[in-house]
Subunit: 204 residues, 2 copies
């Protein structure tokens, strides 16, 4: 099923590109705890306007990650397509590790992981050999739970922040909006990789 | 050079993941025509607040695409890693084709490409066989010029719009902010694919 027709926002498109198709689920799923759909980017109740907009982006991208691993077996999640590849499972955990390090730096003002966090997240953060050796043997539910736990803290922390915190430049001319936009678009980067790998799983 | 240290926003990270490194150029480059850095997401002069914020995201992501093909030869841009793969060149042109169809639907109110647009963009939009046959033999400058031309129209059109246009839901519960956020994060999806392919080019 490489070609699907879909209508989104008035455009009837016929695409053979699964990355695009994957990004456009046919139903307008609702965000948990929100009456607004995933295809509505903008301010959200409970957050300042720009933070709520960021949250709507995080929610949309996260849903596409969840869908990208739907139906995969443990063997699929562990599959390594070549010697330098990362498994789909490791890539999903890597998303949470990156989110975690940005929590540490932007919410807690620390520059790096503490000992426990390194134990929990270092392999997923760095990927490569350590990840290939240690991140495996788990079902999709394991990955979904770990990324959900990290996301819960992100959302509760963002509720305590305001747009000044998000937009204010630091001395390096970087702001927290860039940092959290990067956490968001980083999920898209690896969704590209996950979709690529998924199409090349043995038996597909 | 798989491991680089970088400091961004107070976090000293050591990552082996080139996708992350690619997303974090060492210098805070300035946006063309703007005094604000690429690591500042937020409102921009000349645009309404939410549209300017979107533009800062588009600018940041575009710079990472430009860097992702830096130094590639025509043979690199044409390389097909396997029978179902797309070339890096085709993927870059695909970004512009998607941006073009969203211009048509959101700025011009048409549902699909006209005859000339199909001639110019259909292969890049669909990827696959047609793209493999027709998109090749060009240097990086060709791709950079084509994506820049499309982007110029996006930015000039967004200058004429306001936040109501961006945020307003249509009857399907989709808004223009989602559509243009998707054009933006779609560049990240394929950056993941480009980085993957770049690491597997012959002779690397």
């Amino acid at each position: 099923m490489n070609r699907r027709k879909f209508v989104k926002g008035g455009a009837l498109l016929t695409l053979s590109n699964i990355a695009i198709v994957a990004a456009l689920p046919t139903a307008c799923a609702q965000q948990p705890g929100s009456s607004r759909g995933l295809y509505m980017i903008g301010p959200q109740p409970g957050y300042s306007p720009h933070i709520g907009t960021l949250v709507s982006m995080l929610n949309y991208n996260r849903q596409t990650i969840i869908e990208s691993i739907d139906g995969l077996s443990t063997a699929d999640l562990d599959f390594l397509v070549d010697a330098q590849a990362n498994s789909i499972g490791a890539l999903v955990l890597h998303l949470a590790a990156i989110e975690k390090i940005y929590q540490v730096t932007t919410f807690e003002g620390r520059r790096e992981f503490n000992k426990q966090e390194n134990k929990d997240w270092k392999a997923a953060l760095d990927l490569g050999d350590a990840a290939r050796k240690t991140i495996k043997g788990q079902p999709t539910s394991y990955y979904l739970e770990r990324i959900a736990q990290v996301r819960e803290k992100t959302l509760s922390s963002l509720k305590t922040k305001d747009d000044d915190w998000l937009l204010q430049a630091d001395k390096d001319n970087v702001n927290n909006y860039w940092r959290w936009f990067h956490v968001c678009e980083h999920e898209s980067i690896h969704r590209g990789e996950i979709v690529w790998l998924r199409k090349r799983l043995p038996g597909r």
